[in-house]
Symmetry: C2
Subunit: 458 residues, 2 copies
Amino acid sequence: MTDPAAVLEALRLELGDAVVTDPARLEAARGDKSGHRSDAPPLAIVDARSIEDVQATMRIATRTRTPVVTRGAGTGLAGAALATTGEIVLSTLAMDRVIEIDEDDLLAVVQPGILNGRFNDLLGERGLWFAPDPASRAISTVGGNIATGAGGLLCAKYGVTRDAVLGLTVVLSDGRVIRTGHRSVKGVTGLDLTALMVGSEGLLGIVVEAIVRIRRRIEGTVATIASYFPDAASAARAASAVSAAGVQPAVMELMDARSLAAVDALLGTTMGAAGAAHLVVQTDGPAAASEASSALAIIESFGGTAELTTDPAEGERLLAVRRAMHPAMERLGTTLIEDVSVPRSALPAMFAAIADVERRFGVTIPTVAHAGDGNLHPNFIFDGDVVPDHIWEAADALFTAALALGGTLTGEHGIGILKRRWLQDELGADQVDLQRGIKAVFDPLGILNPGKVFPPAE
Amino acid sequence: MTDPAAVLEALRLELGDAVVTDPARLEAARGDKSGHRSDAPPLAIVDARSIEDVQATMRIATRTRTPVVTRGAGTGLAGAALATTGEIVLSTLAMDRVIEIDEDDLLAVVQPGILNGRFNDLLGERGLWFAPDPASRAISTVGGNIATGAGGLLCAKYGVTRDAVLGLTVVLSDGRVIRTGHRSVKGVTGLDLTALMVGSEGLLGIVVEAIVRIRRRIEGTVATIASYFPDAASAARAASAVSAAGVQPAVMELMDARSLAAVDALLGTTMGAAGAAHLVVQTDGPAAASEASSALAIIESFGGTAELTTDPAEGERLLAVRRAMHPAMERLGTTLIEDVSVPRSALPAMFAAIADVERRFGVTIPTVAHAGDGNLHPNFIFDGDVVPDHIWEAADALFTAALALGGTLTGEHGIGILKRRWLQDELGADQVDLQRGIKAVFDPLGILNPGKVFPPAE
């Protein structure tokens, strides 16, 4: 590796003002929304303004063998964008334009730095929307969605991020550019590198432009049901029954008692007084009313106390509660947020497993779930930057339970550094070797986000 | 490479009766439904009955450096499963069981050899279905769908094959087994090898089991509109206008005059007398009736003569006409079936480009289109096994036009051998190099379907 001062000089020579070494900015690039931090600040941040800036950065990085961490808004929850000593942070946050909205073909071409919420505001002016809908939509970028495969609240009905990405422009580790995919609905020319890039967490290249599918606004009534249950297990059983009955909610979110208490503390609400678990179901589209009525009957038959509203503002208020979950957790301490995903029918079993882990390890684990798709976010809370051993052990027990139920380590946050220790448990050694091989094809020098996803070699 | 007789002996020793050298079977493995044939029959066929049989075959192939062509029902249209001298054909057609149907989680676990039609019959008994719906459903396998990324008639509304595959069990080139993906709706652990396998045309490994998404039967009316237009261009404009108006047909199929004549000749129908282009639109779901009524008005405003039926049998009869297209083409001679896909709004421009190619090269190109997703199948017909030069030239002009419209070489058939000469035109040299690199990670000896997809090295 070249001397850091020489790297910095080369960057400044080529990129001028785009190169930032302001200590506050460098400090911020040590962390993300998981609350975890790297051990030291990076060398510099490049605020890329164009594809050419990204190419120039990667050419210098390749020439000087300098590691590069691509970063958007820094809202990740797995530590995938943490940067440390000697690393260049390649920020795509300033590349935030919507280049094209094609209403006839229902696609948009965007730069990676556009915020999800902002993108949806622009689309909304034309009666359109973008389905991937992370709870962090107001502060997270579309590029971050693509890098992590972030999903959100609407995946069960409207698909995961991979389904919404048609094509990508990618800068490779040596500065060359490739264009994957197409503007058509279908396309199977060669290996599907577009899908391979989605969720690749900065390991393979830098997404500098994306062709994404957009949708026409769903017309008609939106029905929202808010319900309370005596415990999370019964709410989970009701949620599974709603899905099994053939109702397809746009949103179905479950919050347990500890989550309700945390959100109450943040927002000054009193949900915790109404019950020990909360299930919100939202239906949309032509069958919204009949689906809501079926869901309501099922919820009540499982012991839920429910009310149904078709008022849009009231419905949005009920979802705002769910979106407040992460800020509420941040107030409690540092969080190790899990992101296990299990088959929908295993949701009650997963809640039982969480309760069991709480008992065995003497920890409390506030949990919310995207109940429509079986994705749970159990939150381990602790003080300080370092995850205590007993928390790792409890998390380990919880992952093991999710895998045993046919699930996965991470539904939508990615592996980053926080889950890499379990990667091989899920994938097996042979598959990890293949993945490392693919990484080496894209990044032969190992300069793209080193140390992330794959455990360090022993 | 080991002596062929020794390879055969090793296969027989380990796999016994599963090894077939019947000349008629070997002869059949030279071709597929494109009508193209390899220059000579392969060494042997292994009728694999289990994952262990596939593993044993691949261990022998690795040890002896023998090429392996994985093959299902042989209904491919790009020559991806043609086998030649010295190659082992690994047939997964006998691995045809549905291992599990999970109605609560809406997934099924299947072996690759199950026919699409048979799978849908079994699902239909429980009120379920599998969305990928190639026109060849009665004779093609689910494994073939996955290997080619085959789509079919319903992709615009119900997704492409990649969207329907949750996880795969794959035998690697040396006989090891990996399990990719998961049973949950979401999952982003590591690189998405499940998506990478879909459409990989036998280059990376052998799919021996798949976890696929299934759906509940769509209840309610199915409305079908059959319409005739004076020419294909006006039918294409009407189809684009239907999509642009926000109607989302389950099926929207366009056949030109030459296609109608060929199907008339096969089925004894008289569609050609009614008009020079035929557009079938089918709507389903809760909005079926209102969507059909909107589509009908648009079709008539574009000069179409239309009738609407809500009778299921009549609707199915109208689609059977479309499904007869390929057998109708087979009667005319050997076919080079193109499979270009363009953005929906470019459909009229693509039909104009096809007419231009017909004029310039003095060829006739019967064309059908999945008009809902912009996927066209122009058919070049000729005599004999060898594509004449002027057909290649005409095909070349047609591909160039599709790429210029933002489209792709192949929407759902794959590259095989018939389109490999254009691979680099679409992907560019840098992306082809990356794809070759990925291939080498999975298949370091180059024994998996050599010569397919990538043009032979010069």
